[in-house]
Symmetry: D2
Subunit: 289 residues, 4 copies
């Protein structure tokens, strides 16, 4: 099977590496030298121009936002084979994906959204979790293609549902991080040691992925690594809130947390890590971590 892979960023590069062992793989990247490096490293074929990706049974995209995916679709659609399957692993917008799917379907091309979670370690080890939105038969086709880089593959519903649960999960994480920040800053102000506070919280009902994994090392130990840009997390929350909005849903905490992520972007710059939102929370309190 011929597969094209478009977008060789921190996630895409190793993901495509796993596929090179299983498929006849062509890779493309806006900066061409990255594709050539991929070819040297994994034995894939580097496309010299985007159009070379058109003649494939499956096309995988993983790009910053759905806007870039749309631009690629516009450019590549006329070259695609009828019956091809487009798999979009971008952390994208469900409503835009439905429109993309429709445009592709009109040309006989199938579409699933298939965002991933697990970070660059998961991409390198091939143990990502993939959340797929699309028809039952498209899901089954996609499943076989993404298997080389995945540990868990979920069929989440129709087109857009992969993106939907991805952004909602990220927004829940964002909210739980902020909540952990409010609790810890209050305890800090009262004079409590942060490690003891986390130990007590994690022995009780207030624990979350934020208190068990994210805050201890990254914040309390003062490491603050850059793992996922604040501006990209802000974008995911923005998509989740637009989605809620368009469904007439009432999500006041998602909404409020989104405001603080945006304010933190405005204050800290778009290169900041998403955990830096807790620096912004501390600043509101006139404190530091």
């Amino acid at each position: 099977m011929r597969v094209s892979f478009i977008g060789l960023g921190a996630m895409g590069f190793p993901m495509a590496g796993h596929l090179a062992k299983n498929f006849d793989l062509t890779v493309w990247n806006r900066t061409g030298s990255v594709a050539q490096e991929h070819a040297r490293t994994f034995g894939s074929g580097a496309a010299s121009k985007l159009a070379d990706c058109g003649d494939a049974d499956a096309i995988i995209t993983i790009l910053p936002t759905s806007r870039e995916v749309d631009e690629i679709i516009d450019e590549l659609a006329p070259k695609l084979k009828s019956g091809a399957l487009w798999i979009d692993s971008t952390s994208g917008d469900p409503l835009q994906s439905r429109q993309s799917a429709k445009r592709l379907n009109d040309r006989g091309v199938r579409f699933v959204d298939a965002p991933v979670t697990g970070g660059t370690p998961g991409a390198e080890k091939g143990t990502l979790t993939v959340m797929i939105g699309g028809s039952e038969s498209d899901f089954r086709r996609a499943q076989d293609i993404v298997k080389p880089f995945s540990a868990k593959i979920f069929h989440c519903g129709g087109v857009g549902m992969g993106h939907a649960i991805k952004v909602i999960t990220n927004t829940m994480n964002a909210a739980n991080i902020w909540v952990a920040g409010e609790g810890l800053l209050a305890l800090k102000k009262l004079g409590m040691d942060m490690k003891l506070a986390l130990e007590v919280i994690n022995a009780g009902s207030g624990r979350s992925n934020a208190t068990e994994n994210l805050v201890p090392k990254r914040v309390v130990d003062g490491q603050w690594p850059l793992t996922f840009k604040l501006s990209l997390h802000d974008k995911d929350i923005r998509i989740a809130n637009s989605l809620a909005h368009s469904q007439h849903l009432v999500s006041p905490v998602f909404g409020l947390v989104g405001q603080f992520f945006t304010a933190a972007c405005n204050e800290l710059g778009h290169q900041a890590d998403y955990m830096d939102v807790l620096k912004y929370a501390a600043r509101m309190n006139g404190e530091e971590w």
Copy 2:
């Protein structure tokens, strides 16, 4: 050692049961028959009047709120021995506890706040987590007394810090529950199966005690058991917010979640369980679980 135990509710009854095996224990309850039942069950001594609790080396209280503790202190203080230790396991108010401690200290009586977590199962098995606020030496004395019903005992700081971390942990839990509700209601509206949604969330970054333990059985399986009254959880959040308030802290999500717990109390009545706040969240969305 002579120990008096005041407040034989769902938690206090089994907690005092463990102490009866280790100390010369006198128990008292507003409804006297409960004390007599405790005496029959565990071989404790049932006090016929509150004053009988005064002649003890340690007094333990576990009552609905700090207000009831204050009333008992007012009544019992003149009867207490100098050097006695008061251990308050109520889920109480740190600022009121500091005043109570001061009043008792003036009479030569020591005070620690020692709220517990772990629910009635933990109380029955003697595996509670205890969060103690008080001086180093008072902590050591209290530790020996609460050991029979505890699995973990934390020294959280000076008087009030046990109560402080208890209410802040409960507020973090409240917020994480509400956040889980917003996420799940959005996915429900989009047509996703709730069990699948939880499975995906718990495989990713959005997981918390709420999504892993509380919501699956209680909400999604439709059990909605009464384990902790909404109005008592609302009181804990109210204490946490007052505490933040008095420290000039900025805790907007704690504040907003507290508003919804209070609104849910107004709507659902004070007998509702705290997880019923998610029924209120669903209602805001025009949905049902």
Copy 3:
């Protein structure tokens, strides 16, 4: 000058009445009998089909949302004269208006957004305030056409700026209404007479259009008239929040108030008046007005 007027609702009917005295006016309405009644009342010409509106120097639309405007544009655009001016008085979406303007411009047709404020009394008396977005020369053309039904005409900037300030003004009003509700409900709970409370508030710094005009008669006197549907006000807030969102603005109170308007729609139904949001506020407090 030939003018076509599309949308003879509670606002459009009297607005078009003023135009009939000044221009060669053709009117159209989805329900044709309304157009015929307009012709009988004001001497306008009732179009039997939408296409009859195409041959005009200016076309005015005032419809529920920008979606209906877009549908009419799609249908009518091929019939329009080059150089015609489209004036959209719908309370619409600035971003959609910019797209509409572009589509019309491509065919040589000009576009301004020109939403109005002042209610049906203002429409009947011809004393509306009109907020126009468009180029300087388009503004001047539009000004002459809307003059018969207007007391004040503002040029607010380029295309979309009329809609923008309209929805933002409405959202400020929504927020001020909600704020008045929180203040008055607190005073009510404390036992204060509502008329006295309003008198004191309006003698001091807390006054707004809500406390001076809207709440006294409609809420406190118990009249609760239907003047503007809650669901339409909710739509305007939704547009304002989307606009803020797309500009990466931080507008937490606009966001939160929007959530309560949506929740009130879900609770009270879409036919409720926008002031009924205060019934929802009272209900959250377990009170009634």
Copy 4:
């Protein structure tokens, strides 16, 4: 009638000036030289020590917070005549006032809370609005005493209700200011001139004391005068929110706006003017006025 006046700040100094013409007036201030200056200016008698204020028919206090009032009451109460009337014009806390009233009543002294609004211009011209809480007969006595500096005097209910409506009015003003800020910042980002924006808003439904009086000169004209400290306004909102809290009221916008005033205090310092909260709002948006 002998009257004592305690607290000669920016408001108290001119207020007491009006009383000096009508009563046998003794004035006291923490900094004694201010009392002497008052005596020279208005012919009042400067008390050399607080105790000299005790022998009066009425005592008026106007101090930063209820805490300072309580300290003065503790010191002066043993010196007071039975039947004397204490009038507290501090912008104070209703719940603390009720306790103060009780302590004074126990000694045969009456109490009303009587906060004022109208600013230093109103204090100088003697045209303040006074909001009185107390019994009907105490209100009538107080009315005759405060008349020289007042244009409007309201009887708002029992003890504490003057303070209650004062802090609630101030919180409504705070919220309306913030709402005006969100609206204007959005319009600014969209490129609209601020004066035009205010003109349109004030011609429509979104107008408030904030948009009509406070924002145009102080913010848009760039004057930012210091008229009322941010930290004192923050204190008033804090009292209003505590009051709402203690009554189990649901006031989410009051709550959220209070959070932003506290954050602005933490960011801008306690000497900032209350309108400076809009500098904080701009900063959240990465903008400047």
